[in-house]
């Protein structure tokens, strides 16, 4: 069932998925407790997509992400302390408190930024791909986006441009069934967004986005193609957004039973744990150990953030220009 992947790697993926789940759960709690200003968008239930794709990226590969981007940052190796501190608006956060949940980046990890504008990442990813080509390296860029972004112009310009130049890009659609409050079945002209790849003469693949190993396999194929100079791929990871568009969303647009059904029958973490237990890679003991370790890491991250200062007000005037 699981070929070619070491038990250590399988557990690494599991650990990352649990980390994202617990990070997002914690972020929701901190938000509800009034400790995170503004608004946040959680990716609970979409962990397999982030982890499956990022598991085949190298540290020097690039990634662009979205307003629902915590999971991608974690999966690419993001620092939990700096993330929580940023969410809480502290000067020790990734962006010194200037970005918040929707604007986390870590250029040292190739994370070119989360983006507050739906479809904002496409053109940037094309630029990263072009830069890779001009610099003649074998890096790739993963461009994460949602089903909503597939209806914006930049999606189409980017797929076309990446296709004609054969840029090393993975366009990763996380079709979580909702664009803000609007159902994909209403807003999108096609059932499978992956089918739009045909319009740009690139491969498009529908993937069970809640199966981390399926995502990993599809992404690995796309990454190999990209590194060989064969161009971009569109992956559509079918998944489900279990939380509201934002925390506090009254969710008048769907029946709670729909969410429960996905939770009970198609939870990416439960599905993966079941496989790992069947393969005897994951034991109850190890599961508990991982859980405890991640809880401790997150407690430490919250402590770090809470003990960190807010930026001084006048720091708002810093960091505008590199050459002031």
């Amino acid at each position: 069932m699981i070929t070619g992947t070491s038990p250590e790697e399988l557990i690494r993926l599991y650990r990352l998925m649990v980390t994202i789940r617990q990070f997002e759960t914690l972020a929701g709690e901190l938000f509800a407790a009034g400790k995170i200003p503004g608004f946040i968008h959680l990716s609970i239930g979409q962990e397999a997509s982030a982890v499956g794709v990022c598991s085949v990226l190298r540290r020097d590969d690039y990634l662009t992400t979205t307003h629902r981007g915590h999971g991608h940052v974690i999966a690419k190796g993001g620092d939990l302390k700096k993330m929580i501190a940023e969410l809480m608006g502290r000067r020790t956060g990734y962006c010194k408190g200037k970005g918040g949940s929707m604007h986390i980046a870590d250029f040292s990890l190739g994370i070119l930024g989360a983006n507050g504008v739906v479809a904002g990442g496409f053109p940037i990813a094309v630029g990263a791909g072009l830069s890779i080509k001009l610099r003649r390296t074998d890096q790739v860029c993963a461009c994460f986006f949602g089903d909503g972004a597939a209806n914006r112009g930049p999606f189409h310009e980017a797929l076309n441009m990446a296709a004609i130049w054969k840029l090393p890009i993975l366009f990763v659609c996380e079709n979580n069934c909702y664009a803000s409050t609007t159902r994909v079945s209403y807003a999108c002209s096609v059932t499978d967004i992956a089918s739009r790849a045909g319009g740009y003469n690139i491969p498009g693949t529908v993937v069970d986005g809640n199966d981390v190993l399926a995502v990993r396999e599809a992404a690995a194929w796309a990454v190999e193609r990209a590194r060989r100079g064969e161009g971009p791929t569109l992956l559509e990871n079918k998944t489900y957004r279990r939380r509201g568009h934002f925390e506090g969303d009254p969710q008048r647009y769907r029946d709670p039973s729909e969410v429960r059904e996905w939770e009970e029958k198609n939870d990416p973490l439960t599905r993966y744990a079941t496989i790992l237990r069947a393969e005897e890679v994951l034991t109850g003991e190890l599961e508990g150990e991982i859980e405890a370790q991640i809880q401790a890491q997150l407690r430490e991250a919250v402590r770090f953030a809470e003990e960190s200062d807010y930026p001084a007000p006048e720091e708002a005037l810093e960091d505008l220009f590199a050459n002031p």
Partner: protein, 326 residues
């Protein structure tokens, strides 16, 4: 030795050739570049001299600018050719929401060495979608630098400086001025961003201009001189960061100011300059500063209509007379 005289167009190509020679990270991205040398022929010679570094794109302005940004974030130093400045509307998110903000909102983690080169301006009966002067949209967006050169030497010096700058620069150049010639130093010649230049000395009134407006100001100064009014002409050259020190020194001397631009009046950059003069130099003023600008309509097509909408040398002369009460 006689100074070498070349056109604004040749100054662009020279600046780019020198910078591309100097730094292999510099490349040009835009429409109609390779076979055509740019829609105005302004990049002629570069595609042959730097194969693979002058890159034709599909007509996809959003992605052209965004790709420049993505490349700038990952180690390159692109110059984007906007084709016509008017088409920035198709890439406003990439310029204003992304390029301008990325360094700041990510806490200074990265640099954005990106030049968005945009040929602007009217006077060619190009009508409402190919004639605009949109600089004030971008001076209003924190995080961008805005350059509007006039003479060929400024084009060269400022373009080279913009390419070496680590921040996003929107570089407007008036398309009617491409053929305009002037002395341009050969070889290494840089004008730091953020420095205005006093291009004509005078004691009676300060004319503040940039781009096409600079030439109207110079002509007006000649005419004013014949009637005994000595105008000082400052070419602002960079609107952001603005060299207000040079403006202030001049206005403290002349006590009168007129701002001239081709962009339409309301909300134009002249409003910003006049506001600052009024606020910071109120005690030095002998008359309210005036603005000379285009009328507040889209640029019409037919020559008499276009001529009527655009400001003229005569308007500058009249404004200067008004503030000098002569």
């Amino acid at each position: 030795m006689a100074e070498r005289v070349i056109s604004c167009s040749a100054a662009i190509a020279e600046a780019l050739a020198e910078e591309m020679e100097r730094d292999e990270r510099v490349f040009i991205l835009g429409e109609d570049l390779v076979a055509h040398g740019g829609i105005f022929g302004q990049f002629r010679g570069l595609p042959e001299r730097f194969p693979g570094r002058v890159i034709d794109t599909p007509i996809s302005e959003t992605c052209i600018v965004g790709a420049g940004l993505g490349a700038a974030l990952t180690g390159m130093r692109p110059l984007i050719d906007m084709h016509f400045a008017d088409f920035v509307t198709c890439a406003m998110d990439e310029i204003v929401n992304q390029a301008a903000k990325i360094r700041y909102m990510f806490g200074g983690q990265t640099k954005v060495p990106l030049v968005i080169w945009a040929p602007d301006g009217a006077g060619l009966s190009a009508a409402a979608h190919h004639s605009q002067s949109l600089e004030s949209w971008f001076t209003h967006a924190p995080g961008l630098k805005v350059v509007v050169p006039s003479e060929p030497a400024d084009v060269k010096g400022l373009l080279k400086a913009a390419i070496r700058d680590d921040d996003p620069v929107v570089f407007f150049q008036h398309k009617k001025l491409f053929a305009r010639e002037g002395p341009v130093p050969e070889g290494e010649y840089l004008i730091p961003l953020g420095q205005g230049a006093i291009k004509r000395q005078g004691r009676d009134v300060t004319l503040l201009a940039y781009g096409s407006g600079f030439f109207w100001a110079m002509e007006a100064a000649d005419e004013l001189c014949r009637t005994g009014i000595e105008a000082e002409v400052i070419d602002l050259r960079t609107l952001k960061p603005l060299d207000f020190d040079t403006i202030a020194r001049s206005v403290k001397k002349t006590n009168r100011a007129v701002v001239i631009h081709e962009a339409c009046l309301s909300g134009g950059f002249g409003a910003e300059v006049v506001a600052r003069i009024n606020t910071e130099l109120f005690d030095y003023l002998d008359a309210p500063p005036l603005r000379v600008a285009a009328k507040d309509v889209p640029m019409p097509f037919s020559p008499p209509l276009e001529r009527f909408v655009l400001p003229h040398v005569g308007d500058v002369v009249e404004a200067a007379r008004k503030v000098t009460y002569r």
